[in-house]
Each structure stands twice: as C-alpha cells, then as structure tokens.
C-alpha cells in the first residue's frame, strides 16, 4: 500500500498528525523495511551506513518520526541514482566507499557491528559546521573529490531535504497551504505558529 493511501485510511492525511509508535510501525510495515531494502545506487553496506547516519541526523523525537521512518535513505539512494550527474555520482560512490573503510577497517567485519556511538564519533570529528575549518580542503584546494566534511554535510542536507519533501512533513507538520488565495505580509505566530510553509 502506498504511504499516501495508508495515511488517508488512517484518517491522517489532513490536520496535525502526531505519529504514535503504533502508527509509525504500521507505516513502516507497508513501506520498505530497512532489512529487506536493496539500494539502487549504493551497496548494501553503504545503504546500512546511510540509514544509521540519517537517523542520527534526524532521530525520532516526541511527535515526529525519524528519517528512516519516512524512507529518507531510500529517497537519497534513488536521488543519487536518478538526479546526480555522472561526475557527482562518481564522487559520492568514492566517498561512500571511503566511509565504509573508515567505519570498519577490516572488510571482513559486518557493518552491523558498527555502533551508533562509532557513527557519532565519526560525525563529530569529520562533519564540520559553520566556522570550523576543513583542513582536508585547505590542504588540497584543487581536488575534485569530496572531502569527508563535504561528503557528510552533503548527506546532512540531502537528509534534511528528503525529510522535508515527504508528504507527512509537508502536509501535517509544516504549514500546508496549497491554495492561499491571497498574499500579504503577516504575523509569523498568527500565520504559522513560528513554522515554515511546506510549499
């Protein structure tokens, strides 16, 4: 069953939707199960790593599903396959393969053994944010390859964009206003309660 139909059947397609654990598992059961998901673009190990990282970036919180509950990794994998041009695809493939090597230096090991803490240590060290200097880039300004930080920030933004591009967030969490019928500048709290619009 498609997620949209599932939501409609649950009476959740309109109005504010708080995902309770039962509903989330229902939704998961009719979309792709992570364990059986076969990525289009990534290898199996890379898909698993992406899944873990996506859920660290956007974990499950009170009232809001995690990235994987909204199939964000599947979206990103498909996006990399269908949207990125060949050059960017090669960069991401390479960066993913380096990521797997960093996570499990011994290629015989199972990716499943890498703990959430291990992922977080890697992100803390290599995903540089505002005002942190990317020494890998500084050392090689001309390199066409993604630095670890550029790659991980790329995953961060893809995760965020994919999450915000889902129907559940777009229609039920952000303010959904498909036919506004007027235009004016108004009070943020009154119009959206401090949130963004989804369209």
């Amino acid at each position: 069953m498609k997620r949209r139909d599932a939501l409609k059947n649950l009476g959740l397609a309109t109005g504010f939707f708080v995902a309770t654990p039962t509903i989330v598992s229902l939704l998961q059961s009719c979309t792709s199960d992570v364990k059986t998901w076969v990525p289009e673009f990534l290898s199996q190990d890379q898909g698993i790593a992406l899944t873990k990282i996506a859920d660290i970036i956007l974990p499950k919180t009170e009232g809001l599903p995690s990235a994987t509950e909204l199939n964000v990794p599947q979206f990103i994998d498909k996006y990399m396959n269908e949207v990125l041009d060949a050059e960017d695809q090669a960069k991401y493939k390479n960066a993913f393969s380096n990521l797997i090597t960093m996570l499990k230096p011994n290629s015989e090991e199972s990716i499943e053994k890498v703990t959430i803490e291990d992922y977080k240590v890697l992100l803390d060290k290599h995903m540089l944010v505002k005002d942190e200097i990317d020494e890998e880039r500084e050392a090689n300004l001309e390199s066409l390859e993604l630095t670890k930080s550029e790659f991980l920030n790329g995953l961060k933004w893809m995760t965020i964009n994919a999450y915000l591009t889902t129907e559940q967030i777009g229609e039920n969490v952000l303010v959904y206003d498909p036919v506004p019928s007027q235009y004016y500048c108004g009070d943020l709290q009154e119009l959206t309660g401090g949130k963004s619009y989804s369209l």
Partner: protein
C-alpha cells in the same frame, strides 16, 4: 480546440504559431470573420486537461521537484536556465537532441513546441513601450528608427490589457506609460521598507512599485473560465484557475468560439510560397511533425508568429527568384540585429527586524524599479546609452540559518521546521542595443529529422551592455544600503551573461521606414510582400529594458485588424 472541421486547401488567413502573438492573431482574424488556419509545430495542449503537474506537491514527484539526470542529458541547453527542466515544467520545453541548433557564439534558445507556445510558461510581466523607446534609435543614430510612435499603438495596448487582465499600479511616468490595470498585488513588509527608503534617499526620480503582471486580481476575463489569482505560484505548469493570460485559456478559445478557426497541431511550417506574378505570398508549405507527410495550404494573408528566431528561419528558407536570400530580405537584415535583455546583475542583502513576519501566499510577481537612467537632466550618464529596470523582491528563507551550525540530533530537527532570514534581491534587466553583427543564419549541412536546415547563432552583448552592467550592480548596492539592509553584496554572474537566457529573442525582421534597411513596415507587413505579417519578437526595432510580450500582443492585434481591413477593401 479540436480540429473537427475538415481541412481545406484554402483559407482567408493562415497563422503560424500559437504563442503570445499567434493566439492574438487567431483571435483578431477570426473575430473579423476570416476563415483562419492556425498551424502549430508542436503537440496539442488543452487548457487544464493537459497541465499534468498543476496540482502536484513536491512529494508527488519521485525525486522532489528536481531535474533528473536523464532530462538534463536530453535538454542540456534548456537546462542552462537552471529551472525549466524541473519535472513541474520540463514537458513544456523542447528536447535539445530532437531540436538541435548551433552556436558560433553561445546562445540559449529556450522554447516549447506545443499549442500555446511560451504563453504557457512566460514571465507575465507586462509593460508598455514609451516614446522614449520609440524615439531612441532616431535620436542616437543607432540602427533604424521605429516607424511607429506611442500614439499609434496606445489604443491597442488598451484593448489587449482590458482583454487579458494586467494588475499593477499606475505611476504617471513618461518612461513607463500608464496602463489599463487591475488592482495591484501587495508588496511585503520588507519591500515596503525598501520602497520608503528609496523614495527618501534618491533625488533622481527612482521609485519602487509592484510588478505589473498579466494576472487577474479582481473579477474575471473572457476565455475558458478565467478567474482570480490564487497565489499558488505554479503558473508555468499551466493554471487551472486561468488566472494568468495564456493563449490556451484566453485567445485561442475565443478564436475557436467564432467558428472561424481551424487549429492544426504537429504542423511544421518551413516555407512561405511566393508568387512572382501577383507579388504576393499564396500559402505555406508544411511537414507533419509526426507522420512527415507534406502539405500546402493557401491563404490571402499569412501571419508569422512562430517566435523571432523561428519566423526568421521560415523566411530565410522561403527562397524564390525574386527573393533569393529569403522572403522579404531585400535589406539583408533578415536574421540580424538579434536582441535579448541582459540580466543576472544586481545586488542582494539580508533584512533584519522582520523576524516576526512571514508572507501569506506565494506571489508570482515581484517588485519593479522602473528605468531611471538617461531620461534627461540629472538622470543622464555618459558611460552608456539607454537604461535598465530592476525586478526581484524580498522573500523569507524556508529554513533557519541555525541548521548550518548544527551537526545532528533533536535540536537540528527542530530548526529545520523554522523559517530563516529575509533575503532581498534586486535583479537588473537592461536594454540591449541592436547590432547588425548579432545574427542567426541557417546551416544546410546540419539538417534536423525533418530534413530542414538548423539555426546557427552568432550573437553576444556589446560594450554598451557591459558598461551598463557596472551601473546596474552599483545602483542596486546603493539602494539596498540606503534601506539599511545587511550583508549587501553586488553581483554580475558571468556564466549567466548569455544572449537568449532572458528568453526575449527580438529583432530578426525589424520594422522600419525604409525597405533598404528593414524587413517590415509600420503595420508589421513585409515591405515587398504585404500579405505577410510578422508580429512576434522579430519585428522589434529596439529592445527597451522591459519584458516585451505585451507589445507583441498589441502590435499583433493592430496588424491583424489592418490585414482584415485590407482584405475587405480588396474584396469590395
């Protein structure tokens, strides 16, 4: 708009093209009682029915609304815009592999082959030419004089605006004539602030207003159920409310309702047939785009409305003993003097102090700062001729800037749901001078799949445009600084400084008084073959600095009524 009637061999009039100009030609000719065959090279697009993405949300597209690798590979030239290849609109833009063209110098030829043409995806900004524009070439000794003045075209602008619906604010400016306008759309709070500060800070008459746009903001207009703008900002997908003007919602249905129109899609007109004994055109040669069958249709009068480049290409292919270099090309100007507007130059900034505000609705319109250079007195500058305007506006980013500072986790997740800063952009649109060296010509060694020659472009912006761009950038910076905005940053995007990218191709069959130096006379007729009218952007003798489509409509309406009168005279 089904093609129910049997195809005849002969009509009173033939219209080539169904875009902004073709739709108007069809309507006016049909309303004058002429049996009119309308030929469109592309497929049928019916109002509403054929707008497949009009109600799709981002999550309804498999990858969000982002151009896929496959589309970018098929449409690399269309993709130079950076936006038309998104799944919301890519089906309205040509496949560059199927419809190739050549570039001696870069030219971005962005177009759609379907009923309605670019009237479906146009920018909708609608301004009138003024006598400052009509007189500029003569006064400065540039190119040739327009054979038309504002008083000649004014009633036709009135007629067109009352029919299509244009919203905006009249300002009584000599460089931007007042129009028949519906109530203006609103500026937002940041734009209001900028408007106030510009009025306070400059003494050269510059001011800020809301864009004049072909959207219905009150009441309704003729056509297929045209109603008011709903502020969805999905115009280029086709509007289910018929709120903006397109041929599909407006002129073509009205033409059809007369019972005088026969519309034939998939009809590639490649030649106008000329008869040396009568000194008139007698009809057109057509190839069916799908079956490749060939046809000839006859008519008493022919309107070329295929767009500036395509109309010139048809005329260049129409060779005869009398016109060995293409129909109407006695002057050698056919295909030359290509103009576009140059843009992607201006300034941007951030506005602080409006964090508690947000816009309701998505306005498919922006602010407008009308031309304020070279209008006499203190507005005159010596560095360049003519002038420019600014479009743009203030928008609030969808995502908090804090997101860039956070790595992961619940706090990041909260921030991705909050709006970010207010960004302000002033995007200059500058006039391009006509230059004989800027041209398109036909390559008979590179044929398309219908065996027709392909178009080669050889054009670029010149010194005047480059000098103007410096001022466009500087003045944008000054205005944003005057408003007290933060992080003001001027820009001039070299990679976007390309002819064609403004999607305002003009000038390839210019109007003029003298057949030795121009292709068309003051009624858009070919000087030496007066039953052929060219009323798309090809006729433009100069470019002015604003969006040209409204002028095409006015000139087309005038030309079509002129043609109808001529036919009536000849018949009596």
């Amino acid at each position: 708009m089904d093609n129910k009637s049997e195809l005849l061999n002969e009509y009173d009039a033939i219209v080539v093209g169904t875009g902004i100009s073709g739709g108007w030609a069809a309507k006016e000719l049909c309303e004058n009682g002429l049996k009119t065959l309308v030929l469109e090279r592309g497929r049928m697009v019916k109002h509403i029915e054929d707008y497949p993405t009009a109600n799709m949300d981002p999550w309804d597209f498999p990858n969000g609304n982002v151009a896929t690798k496959e589309v970018k590979e098929r449409k690399p030239k269309q993709h130079r815009t950076g936006y038309v290849t998104r799944p919301e609109t890519e089906h309205f833009f040509v496949d560059d592999m199927k419809h190739p063209y050549n570039e001696d110098r870069r030219f971005d030829w962005i177009r759609g082959y379907h009923v309605g043409g670019r009237s479906l995806m146009w920018g909708r900004q609608s301004y009138r030419l003024s006598d400052i524009d009509f007189e500029a070439n003569l006064k400065e000794g540039i190119a040739v004089d327009w054979p038309v003045r504002y008083k000649d075209i004014e009633p036709w602008y009135d007629k067109v605006e009352e029919f299509i619906g244009v919203s905006g604010e009249n300002l009584g400016l000599k460089q931007l004539p007042d129009q028949k306008l519906l109530k203006p759309m609103n500026l937002n709070c940041v734009e209001e602030e900028l408007k106030t500060k510009i009025a306070e800070s400059f003494d050269d008459g510059r001011l800020l207003t809301i864009g004049r746009t072909a959207h219905i903001t009150e009441g309704s207009k003729p056509g297929l159920g045209r109603s008011t703008c709903q502020y969805r900002n999905r115009c280029a997908r086709g509007c289910p409310f018929g709120a903006y003007f397109s041929s599909n919602s407006s002129t073509l249905p009205v033409a059809e309702a007369t019972g005088n129109m026969t519309l034939r899609p998939n009809s590639i007109v490649h030649e106008i047939i000329y008869d040396d004994t009568t000194k008139k055109a007698t009809g057109v040669k057509v190839i069916d785009a799908e079956t490749k069958e060939v046809f000839e249709f006859k008519a008493k009068v022919i309107f070329l409305c295929a767009s500036a480049i395509a109309s010139a290409a048809i005329l260049l292919q129409s060779k005869s003993e009398r016109f060995p270099n293409g129909l109407g090309n006695d002057s050698g100007e056919l295909g030359h003097n290509i103009m576009d507007h140059h843009f992607h130059v201006g300034a941007r900034a951030k506005a602080e102090g409006f964090e508690d505000k947000i816009n309701k609705g998505r306005r498919a319109n922006g602010l407008y700062i009308p031309r304020f250079r070279n209008l006499g007195g203190i507005t005159d500058v010596k560095e360049f001729k003519r002038g420019y305007g600014y479009q743009g506006g203030a928008t609030r980013s969808d995502i908090s800037e804090l997101v860039a500072e956070l790595k992961y986790g619940p706090k990041l997740k909260e921030e991705i749901l909050k709006p970010g800063e207010w960004n302000v952009n002033l995007l200059g649109f500058g006039e391009t001078l006509p230059d004989h060296k800027n041209r398109m010509y036909l390559d008979y060694n590179k044929l398309d799949e219908w065996g027709l020659p392909t178009v080669t472009f050889d054009a670029d912006f010149g010194e005047n445009e480059l000098a103007m761009r410096k001022d466009m950038r500087e003045q944008a910076v000054k205005m944003l600084e005057a408003a007290g905005f933060k992080d003001v940053e001027g820009y001039d995007l070299a990679e976007k400084r390309a002819m064609g990218l403004g999607i305002h191709e003009m000038g390839t069959a210019r109007m003029g008084h003298d057949p030795k130096t121009s292709v068309l006379n003051k009624y858009n007729q070919i000087h030496a073959c007066t039953n052929v009218y060219v009323t798309d952007g090809a006729f433009m003798t100069s470019a002015a600095c604003h969006n040209p489509s409204l002028g095409y409509m006015a000139f087309t309406a005038r030309a079509a009524n002129h043609a109808a009168e001529q036919l009536k005279k000849n018949n009596t």
